[in-house]
């Protein structure tokens, strides 16, 4: 997992729930992602403007790719031909061609204000990006690297999650207390699911029905049924600032980063209770399990 405020990668023994060690990264690493071949975990250093490829099991550095500007958020398209970074600080989305080994810049797309999270359409034709400060959702055509459309969605949109069959986009509204359901084909907000204050980011629970969303202000996690688009429960009693989540391979525990509490939390999904916390560094953000429950495509890992 990444301590974005301390520029380090922390390795945790998942079974023992103990920190094994840390190693330095570049400045402000926020998110991390597995490469399509599963051989490398990419750590995106947003202030150092580079990517570090590490071994997904040991965390050992494999290589460093420089001149990737402000890679706050990152994602591979479902066909693995495109690699996209959202430059939150620089108001830009950069699109790279990926040949399975190297990244080649295709285009830098100016996109104000503060592009933060992304997801893709299943046919890999489109990347969707939330624009946090302008309260919009944008769609970029990957083949031409041009903005197809932008639409208002509300105050401070953050996490994005595509429902199976590319039916709807779920948008975590961090400035509100809901998840906006967007019919992206019609560019319309069709529903708002009340969750908790500061709805932020998603993780599917790999049971064919549910997706979890963190509520950054309420310090809770809401469980949504994405087949009915209803909230079915909340997990409370958490530490402040729940953010990114990860699901264990056995689907029994949901791990969550407490951004404002320097801890990672372990939630038992049967009882829906926080059962353990692990102290880590400042501003913990992205996390990844070497052995994990799958993330539904076309949503990036």
């Amino acid at each position: 997992m990444l301590d974005s405020g301390e520029a380090q990668l922390t390795l945790i023994d998942e079974a023992k729930r103990k920190v094994l060690g840390t190693q330095p990264t570049g400045k402000e690493p926020h998110h991390l992602m597995i490469t399509p071949d599963g051989n490398s975990l990419i750590v995106a250093d947003s202030v150092s403007n580079d990517l570090i490829f590490v071994d997904p099991h040991s965390g050992k550095v494999q290589k460093r790719v420089e001149d990737i500007e402000d890679p706050y958020q990152l994602g591979f398209s479902p066909d693995h031909k495109w690699f996209v970074t959202a430059g939150l600080r620089l108001d830009r989305v950069d699109i790279y061609r990926y040949d399975g080994h190297d990244l080649t810049l295709a285009k830098r797309v100016p996109l104000a204000k503060t592009p933060s999270h992304m997801t893709f359409s299943s046919d890999a034709s489109t990347v969707f990006v939330t624009l946090q400060d302008s309260g919009e959702l944008a769609a970029i055509d990957l083949a031409t690297q041009t903005v197809k459309w932008k639409m208002p969605v509300g105050n401070t949109p953050a996490g994005l999650w595509m429902t199976p069959g590319d039916r709807d986009l779920l948008v975590g509204m961090t400035g509100e207390d809901d998840v906006a359901v967007v019919d992206w084909h019609k560019q319309q907000v069709v529903k708002r699911i009340q969750t908790g204050k500061g709805a932020h980011n998603f993780r599917n629970l790999d049971d064919g029905k549910h997706v979890a969303v963190t509520n950054r202000v309420a310090s809770t996690i809401s469980i949504l049924d994405y087949t009915t688009l209803q909230k079915v429960g909340d997990i409370d009693g958490l530490l402040p600032g729940p953010d990114d989540m990860e699901l264990s391979a056995d689907r029994k525990t949901l791990w969550v980063m407490f951004r404002f509490a320097r801890h990672v939390g372990v939630i038992d999904l049967t009882s829906r209770k926080l059962i353990d916390t692990i102290e880590v560094g400042r501003s913990p953000h992205g996390l990844y399990f070497a052995d994990r429950a799958p993330v539904y495509a076309p949503n990036p890992d």
């Binding site: 520029a7 400045k27 500007e69 600080r89 620089l90 503060t114 950054r216 951004r259 400042r282 501003s283």
Partner: protein
Amino acid sequence: MITEIVAQLDNAVSTLQTLLYVDVVQPIFFKVGLMGYDEDTYDALYWVIIGALEILLTFAVLRPLEALRPIETWQDRKAVRADVIYTWIAKLGIINLAFFFLLQPVFNHWQSLIAIYDIPNIDIDSVWPGVTDQPVVSFLIYLVILDFAGYWYHRWQHRFGVWWELHAVHHSQQQMSLWADDRNHFLDDIIQAAFFAAISLFIGVQPSQFVVLVAVGNVLQSIQHVNAHLPVVPYLDRLLVSPTFHRRHHAIGYGHEGTRYGCNFGVLFPWWDVLFKTAAWNRATEPTGIRDQLPAPEGLGRNYGHGVLAQQWHAFGRIARRLRRSTSSA
């Protein structure tokens, strides 16, 4: 051991930061629709707490010394009131906030251009792997580099007329005290923040180390301005700028005379003054301030303002007059 102490202090501040943020600041930001600043505000709160602790610490330690062992005895402390306000404004990060909103986008753009056009920068951490990436080593290197830059920044404040008129806000103090360090023109504060941010960007200062660098610098500079005889530690004044050394810089007719000459420009280390032949070790206590503040016949009786707003405004008046003079003499 030092690392452990810093870690414990850091933990204590972080706990307070989280409590304040979650229970006070974040609910307000959510209510007024400013959640886009959620993380930045949380990070900034750390600085606010550090600033408040600095003020409390320096006050608790230095104020009794000022009362017991004053260098100068004053009729009253009215002139210090404005300096107290400046200190709270600066230490609570209000200037940094202005910097963030005004100049951060410019810096982001520059950073973007640096990468696009392959403008080289130095990452001190990676110069000598195994040595310069040790936190203590890189911290000391950053401290020396930034202090060297600070020496020249200070010299330029005295060298260039318009800049001097801004810096004169600081020098117009005739009662130096533990509160004196932060009496500066706000415009100068922002220029200074940009200057040091640019250098920090160039040499790759880590955010966590930047916090400690600034905190150490602030405490030492508060000590330099104190109105108290401090215990003499042999050779310490050759290592760090002492109150005596810095008081000489503020002395009318000895330490500076507007843009004409000056001595003891060092911010934390006096070595730069020795190296560039601007050091003066005379320990005699002289009146501080600016010559034209003095009543005639020594000066012109110029008013530099008593309150914060007056001091800020008068600086613009002086700049305008200086520019008019230079235009008419051209």
